[in-house]
């Protein structure tokens, strides 16, 4: 599979940029003797939206941290555009952004300064052009009113949107999302889905999305990987997954409420009484 660079345009300036591929090869991760990821291998093509799904505790976020270079695998390798993402030189060359589940905004900085930090530190543009980029990103996420607020003054959903805006300001080549639609209302979830799809369709940004949100996954993904108990149990297009007959996958993708379940009956009785 080809995972090297492909020439695309930058999401904001329209200039040529490089979407990058990701190669995860035999990755296992062990914490204090407990294996949380087991021999995971897959490739993400440049410009692709790759969605990782799985129940809580299946290791999705841990895998995302290995891809972001925040942690090193116990066994195996992760390569972003052929380079180790944990190295400073790789991050110098490849613009990699991670949207954290809890936002991870800098609490001591205003929303504006949160977004302007990256371009200022990397000296990419004048203060006027940085302001333009910041305001543009905030407008896309409909949070321009929060520009002078501090993260502590924002709701959970707004923090998430500002966090995505901060990632957009970085003009990323690889964008990693950790539960991008959690804590968001359905309208904003749909907007986020649109943004992820737009970045892919128009600007070929490579995206890896970790989510519980089945409809988000099946709507935007080019391919979906499903993790269970630290193992990648399947990998395919949304169509292939929708047609699956594997009972474990069907249970996960289309969970049913078992009305014969005693716990469900107990709840029903409480509701009636």
């Amino acid at each position: 599979m080809e995972t090297s660079c492909s020439k695309t345009r930058n999401p904001f300036t329209g200039a040529e940029a490089n979407a990058v591929g990701v190669k995860v090869d035999g990755v296992s991760k062990t914490y204090a003797g407990t294996e949380v990821l087991s021999n995971i291998s897959f490739d993400v093509l440049p410009g692709e939206i790759f969605v990782l799904m799985g129940p809580s505790g299946s290791g999705k976020s841990v895998l995302l941290r290995q891809i972001a270079g925040l942690e090193l695998p116990t066994v195996g390798t992760v390569r972003v555009d052929g380079q180790d993402p944990s190295l400073e030189e790789t991050r110098d060359r490849v613009r990699l952004a991670l949207v954290f589940q809890a936002g991870a905004l800098f609490n001591s900085l205003s929303v504006y300064d949160n977004l302007a930090l990256y371009p200022r530190e990397h000296r990419s543009g004048t203060e006027a052009s940085i302001r333009e980029r910041v305001m543009h990103a905030l407008r896309i996420l409909s949070v321009e009113d929060a520009v002078s607020k501090f993260p502590s003054e924002l709701s959970g959903g707004m923090k998430k949107r500002v966090s995505i805006a901060r990632a957009l300001v970085m003009e990323p080549q690889l964008l990693l999302y950790d539960e991008p639609t959690s804590e968001l209302d359905p309208v904003m979830s749909a907007t986020i889905s649109e943004i992820i799809a737009t970045l892919k369709n128009e600007y070929s940004v490579t995206s890896i999305v970790v989510t519980h949100d089945r409809s988000l996954a099946l709507t935007i993904a080019n391919r979906v990987g499903i993790l269970m108990d630290g193992k990648l149990i399947t990998l395919g297009t949304p169509k292939e997954l929708a047609a699956t007959k594997d009972p474990a996958l069907v249970d996960f993708l289309y969970p049913k409420i078992d009305i014969q379940n005693p716990r469900f009956k107990k709840l029903e009785n409480q509701k009636t009484s």
Partner: protein, 250 residues
């Protein structure tokens, strides 16, 4: 064995952080705002408590010295005792202790909280090294502010001693006699030695507290534990380093 490993790991981590931070020294001129903010935090906010403490250290020294020396008729030497004690030992030592409690704890808490709430991870993915924007400005600020704090601590401490010397009945020497003795026996070199000590203490306190903050793992409870560890380790290091630095400077 486990504890020795932990100590060696800690030392290694601090040394690594030091070299990483120093490798970004060239970026300091562009970090003027951060540097000034840290100077304010380390210098200005610590100043009142340093002044109060130094004043009372000066008074206690003069009281004790006056009480002990009255039998020998050597009260005119109180100024020299307070002057030398403040300049060479108590000024730098007590200022460093206050720095550990006031600034070191705040640094550890801030960086530990940034680590726990993934702000440090966010910086890493943005390729903005924490050593560059969080550690280096603090190290530079402490090097600039410690001498200022020491000068003020010494002056206020000496003044505190003179107040006691003048107004406490069994001491009862004039400010002129007190300051004449102080000037005669306290040399510029003594004040400089104290400043050098204070620079070492302040630098180590800030570096260690930054390292402990950045290496915090777990949840909010660990932030409190990290702060305690930062302050305790800083205090121990101040006392241990005091012996060795004094030995070198003598």
């Amino acid at each position: 064995m486990k504890q020795i490993n932990a100590i060696l790991e800690g030392v290694g981590s601090v040394v690594q952080l030091l070299f990483r931070s120093l490798s970004y020294t060239g970026s300091l001129p562009r970090q003027g705002a951060r540097f000034i903010e840290q100077c304010y935090m380390i210098g200005y906010t610590t100043l009142p408590i340093v002044a109060i403490l130094s004043f009372f250290i000066g008074t206690v020294l003069a009281l004790e010295a006056g009480y002990a020396m009255q039998d020998f008729g050597a009260k005119e030497f109180i100024g020299s005792l307070v002057g030398l004690s403040m300049a060479r030992e108590l000024g730098p030592m007590m200022t460093a202790v206050l720095l550990a409690g006031r600034v070191g704890s705040a640094i550890t808490a801030e960086l530990a909280s940034m680590k726990v709430y993934q702000e440090i991870d966010a910086l890493t993915t943005m390729n903005i090294p924490a050593a560059k924007i969080l550690v280096l400005p603090r190290l530079a600020a402490v090097l600039v502010m410690m001498p200022v704090l020491i000068v003020i601590a010494n002056i206020v401490g000496w003044f505190g001693g003179s107040v006691v010397a003048r107004y406490v009945s069994y001491v009862g020497i004039s400010p002129q006699a007190y300051f004449a003795a102080l000037r005669h026996y306290t040399k510029f070199k003594d004040v400089m030695n104290g400043m050098e000590k204070a620079e070492v203490f302040g630098f180590v306190v800030v570096l260690v507290c930054c390292d402990i903050g950045l290496n915090t793992r777990g949840g909010p409870r660990e932030i409190g534990a990290a702060v305690t560890r930062g302050v305790v380790v800083s205090l121990i290091l101040i006392l241990v380093l005091d012996y060795f630095v004094t030995k070198i400077l003598l």
